[in-house]
């Protein structure tokens, strides 16, 4: 059975993460760095055919199944776990590091599952481990945000489980298969399943597929579930946020890509996410919350690509996930270093830090250029693949929207983040660059932001289909530079309008954080009122009964009167006498 080394890669990180607290000092640090690398080695050494199969209540569970996009996602998850571990090495708590390893392991495992039941299991492991990371933020806000976060992800898990159960009940199979939500009839059915030839929309058979779809949307931070991300991620520690940014949403991207590619509805969901992220980031004051909104924005690009569904668009979505994990980790490391060194997180309290944190500023700017798809950075390669796929499919409105969004990304993440943190008016703060391990992690990620920009071939090699796409042409350079540079002009021209205020922006989570709370308070008050009325009415009835009984008992009426004992004895002997007479006469 084990001719080659076939151990599920993700389990290395999960088991390692569980054992981590048993190790001491240097050994623990060594293990945290070694585990992701060992996993990466395993990712590339497992066989292409299914392995590590077992049975669960008659359904096969497959822990090693290589899907089309397994390698690129598993690889980037390992790189993110390694860089995050290097960044967190010295200052994160053991609990946090341990949870981060389990979290990364579950994400890697998700890319290797061959059946939907295992998918659900690792989905839940991810929810729990990431919740521990949010809670490790240690503040009261982190505790509250962690509770809201886990509630959202348990909801996602329940939807997924219900969908999978319905799907298995209908088809009898738990293997990972491809679904299509077609725009013609909004039908959601597995490809290999059609009960009576042509099925109509919203048939009960498609219920399971819709539930799976919505469950994935929750973890994608797609509307109307976008609020959890910007609520929870910025409350984690400077190290926790780096891990959080990499795994949950991108695992959802992988699952969406594998299960629902080509479903047109995803184009509209994706475009909404793109602009939602930009607008909320524009209004935000907390530097890490700006970057959190920008995760939703970037995932929106990937979701749009999945919706377009051509080979080029899917390759673009996967490549964009790869590049995004790197530059977003870099941006959050840069912001995390600022938070770690200054203890401040708001644009209005920061500024002028380039004087004393040059390396953090440079790395932040490189991340900002990459996210903006500046020529010669990774984002330029991957984002262009998605928008060119839209053009090739003759979807002009999608292309216009993506071009406007690219300009908007430069506005909210590309300039806003570095400008308000490292430049603008001097805050007078003079912190130094962070400790060596944190600097090293940033340098590594900065290099990985630039490398695919000048030499995209290794990135293309990770993709399942051969890519014949050269982003680095003179025409593409000129058009992209025009777009970005004039967006930059707009930023500085409109700077007075962009000054941040000490505010937050309410989102759809207002409904459960405020309205639902008010509703519950109202229901409680009504309940209490009803309770008091019932108690008062009951007390009245009881008092009335007692009083009337007592009145009857004290009235000199015949039956209510008390009788002397002698009278009773006389009556009893009389009755006995009557009984004797009757007995002997019969």
């Amino acid at each position: 059975m084990f001719e080659t080394f076939t151990f599920p890669p993700g389990l290395i990180l999960i088991i390692g993460g569980l054992l981590l607290p048993l190790l001491k000092g240097g050994w623990r640090q060594a293990a945290v760095l070694a585990l992701p690398l060992l996993t990466l080695y395993d990712v590339w050494s497992v066989p292409a055919e299914d392995a590590f199969q077992t049975d669960f209540m008659g359904y096969p569970l497959t822990l090693i199944h290589v899907h089309a996009y397994t390698h690129i996602f598993a690889t980037i998850f390992c790189i993110a776990a390694f860089a995050g571990a290097l960044f967190a090495l010295k200052h994160a708590s053991t609990k946090e590091l341990s949870a981060a390893m389990i979290y990364a392991g579950a994400a890697v495992s998700t890319t290797f599952v061959g059946d939907l039941i295992s998918l659900f299991i690792f989905w839940e492991v991810m929810a729990l481990a990431s919740c521990v990371i949010v809670l490790s933020g240690g503040t009261e806000q982190a505790r509250a945000a962690g509770m809201r976060y886990i509630a959202m992800h348990l909801l996602s898990g329940i939807l997924l489980m219900a969908g999978i159960t319905a799907h298995i009940a209908i088809t009898g199979s738990d293997t990972v298969t491809h679904f299509l939500i077609s725009s013609e009839n909004w039908l959601a059915l597995p490809d290999n399943f059609s009960p009576s030839g042509v099925a109509r929309a919203f048939e009960v058979e498609s219920l399971g597929v819709w539930l799976i779809f919505i469950g994935i949307l929750v973890n994608l931070a797609a509307p109307p579930f976008s609020a959890w991300l910007a609520d929870a991620y910025p409350e984690a520690s400077p190290f926790g946020t780096v891990f959080l940014s990499a795994f949950t949403t991108k695992t959802a991207v992988f699952v969406m890509l594998t299960l629902f590619s080509g479903s047109e509805i995803l184009i509209y969901i994706g475009l909404f996410m793109v602009f939602y992220g930009i607008v909320y980031a524009m209004l935000e004051n907390d530097m890490r919350r700006i970057l959190a909104y920008s995760i939703v924005n970037q995932v929106g690009f990937m979701v749009t690509g999945i919706g377009i569904g051509t080979e080029m668009a899917l390759n673009g979505a996967a490549a964009h996930a790869f590049c995004h994990i790197i530059y977003k980790a870099l941006l959050l490391m840069s912001a995390g270093s600022v938070l770690f060194m200054t203890g401040r997180r708001k644009c209005t309290e920061l500024g002028g830090l380039y004087h004393s944190m040059p390396l953090t500023a440079i790395c932040g700017i490189i991340g900002a250029l990459a996210i903006s798809a500046f020529p010669l950075t990774s984002g330029f390669v991957s984002k262009s693949m998605i928008s060119d796929a839209a053009a090739m499919e003759h979807l002009p409105w999608v292309w216009y929207a993506l071009a406007a969004a690219s300009a908007g990304v430069f506005l909210h993440a590309g300039i806003k983040f570095p400008w308000f943190v490292f430049f603008q008016r001097d805050s007078g703060l003079r912190p130094t660059d962070p400790p060596a391990n944190m600097r090293l992690a940033m340098i590594l990620m900065a290099a990985l932001c630039i490398l695919p920009g000048i030499w995209p071939d290794p990135l293309y090699a990770l993709l399942p289909q051969p890519v014949e796409y050269d982003p680095n042409t003179a025409a593409h350079f000129v058009t992209q530079l025009q777009l970005l540079l004039f967006s930059g002009l707009a930023f500085f021209a409109l700077l007075p309008w962009l000054q941040r205020t000490q505010t937050i922006t309410i989102d759809l989570d207002w409904f459960y954080r405020v309205l639902l709370l008010k509703l519950m308070k109202f229901i409680f008050m009504v309940g209490m009122a009803v309770y008091h009325i019932v108690v008062a009415a009951g007390a009245t009835v009881a008092a009335w009964t007692i009083i009337s009984t007592r009145t009857i008992a004290t009235q000199p009426m015949f039956l209510a009167r008390t009788f002397p004992l002698g009278n009773t004895a006389l009556w009893v002997s009389f009755l006995l006498g009557v009984y004797l007479l009757i007995y002997y006469n019969v």
């Binding site: 607008v279 071009a403 506005l411 008016r425 540079l485 500085f492 409109l494 937050i504 922006t505």
Partner: protein
């Protein structure tokens, strides 16, 4: 104009002048480059001169206006949610 700009940053007037002229130069270069490179427009709108430049500028302006308007509606003081608890 320079004094007004200094309200938003901590560059000296001299530095700001240098940065401004570099900025204007780079913008002009990106526009001029169009004449030396053969572009392959996807759609007919792209054939407009400097399409990407004004499209980027207008898109950003629209985003700023829209988000500021939405902010009027949705912005709350910090501690809005925490305040509810106390």
């Amino acid at each position: 104009m320079i004094e007004k700009m200094q309200k938003y940053c901590d560059f000296s007037a001299g530095t700001l002048k240098v940065l401004l002229s570099i900025g204007v130069g780079v913008l002009a270069l990106s526009l001029l480059a169009e004449f030396f490179v053969h572009l392959h427009p996807h759609f007919s709108v792209e054939e407009f001169p400097a399409f990407h430049a004004w499209y980027g500028f207008l898109a950003c302006t629209a985003i700023v206006i829209f988000s500021n308007a939405l902010g009027k509606l949705l912005k709350r003081k910090e501690g809005y949610y925490e305040g509810k608890k106390r």
